[in-house]
Every structure is written in C-alpha cells, then in structure tokens.
C-alpha cells in the first residue's frame, strides 16, 4: 500500500480522474461554454498525467544549480526528475490555450448567430 502513496501514483490518479470528469462534462453538458470548460479540465488532467509520468521519486527540478551539481564529476542524472515531459507539457499547455481561445471565439460567434449556447441547436448540417 505504502508504495502507492507516492507523488507519481497520486498525480496519475488525479490526472485520470480529471480526464474522466472532463469527458463527462464534454459529453453531457449542453451549454457550449460548459463544454469548453470540460475541455480545459480534460487538458489539465492530461497535463498532470504527463508531468506525473516524468516524475522520479524524490528528485529535484531539472535545473542545474549549485544544489544539484554538487561539484565536478557528480552525475546530475541521479538527482533530477525527467525534464522531457515537462518540456512537452509546456508545449501542450500553450496549444491547449490556443484551442480554448479558438473555441471561445467560435462560441461567441455562434451565440451571436442564434442567440443560444445549446449545442444541439447547431445542427444545420446533418445526415
């Protein structure tokens, strides 16, 4: 049991749960703004998941300062967490922001067009 009480596992669980909650929102809410909120929660979940997968137990941030370097010859790889997922998450956050902004612009214009935010009202194209 104790080995699961660790940041990686917890992050993973939180991430998965947020993804599920996000999907729930995306698939059940009729209001477009709510759907977008669902997406942003979904994205947050994925990001937490990514960082968790890069976490190495008990290691510090991947910034090589005096505390990490500990003098010449020390292998830095023994003391830091994985920097790659962090770089990826950074990218993912920015992409997520872009998409959210775009969705919101759409939401605004869709509302302008039909004065409603109900997603099932926008079915001019079907079948």
């Amino acid at each position: 049991m104790m080995e699961y009480l660790e940041l990686g596992h917890i992050g993973l669980i939180i991430g998965f749960l947020l993804i599920l909650v996000g999907f729930w929102g995306v698939l059940t809410q009729k209001n477009i703004i709510k759907i977008i909120v669902g997406f942003s929660i979904l994205n947050t979940g994925i990001n937490i998941l990514m960082v968790s997968l890069g976490y190495v137990k008990g290691k510090t941030a991947p910034i090589i300062d005096a505390a990490v370097a500990q003098g010449e010859g020390h292998d830095v790889s023994q003391s830091i967490v994985d920097p790659v997922p962090q770089a990826l998450v950074l990218t993912a956050i920015v992409i997520g922001f872009g998409i959210t902004a775009l969705m919101l612009a759409y939401a605004m214009k869709l509302y302008n067009a039909k004065k409603t935010l109900e997603i099932n009202k926008f079915n001019d194209l079907k079948w």
Partner: protein, 85 residues
C-alpha cells in the same frame, strides 16, 4: 524523506479539492462559477507541478492556464451577457 511525505499529503488534499472543484465546474448552473472553478482547478494543478519538481510547468500553467484562459472566458461571458441585455 519527511519532505516527501508532506508533499504527498499536500498532493492528496490538492487533488481531492481539484476534483471536487472540477465537478462543481461541470455541474454548477452559473457559468461564472464554473469558469472560476475551472480556473482554480488549473491553479491547483500548478501547485501539483511544483510538488512534482516542475517549476517551469507550474509557472506556465499559472499564467496561461489559469490566468489568461480565465480572462478570455470572462470576456466571452461578458459579451454574451451584454448582448442578452
């Protein structure tokens, strides 16, 4: 080692709160509440990132994920409310 346990404790608390808040964000009828809740979820996520030794991500999440996103959400909400009036 001690540090780690404190971190785990904080993470669990933060996690539970953010899941509750995310449910609030999905189910609250008021859009403004939903947006703020989602913003706070994002903010708590950046706390988690800090715990997991990812300060860069934490900064980005805090500024873009919870800051600018929420701001845009409110722009849109504001616009929609105003055109209702």
């Amino acid at each position: 080692m001690n540090n780690e346990f404190v971190f785990v404790g904080i993470a669990i608390v933060v996690g539970i709160i953010s899941i509750v808040l995310s449910l609030v964000a999905i189910h609250n009828k008021k859009l403004s509440v939903a947006i703020i809740a989602a913003g706070i979820v994002s903010l708590f996520a950046s706390v988690l990132y800090l715990l997991m030794a990812a300060p860069d991500v934490a900064m980005t999440e805090a500024s873009i994920g919870s800051g600018l996103s929420t701001l845009i959400f409110f722009y849109v909400l504001n616009k929609i409310k105003r055109s209702d009036a």
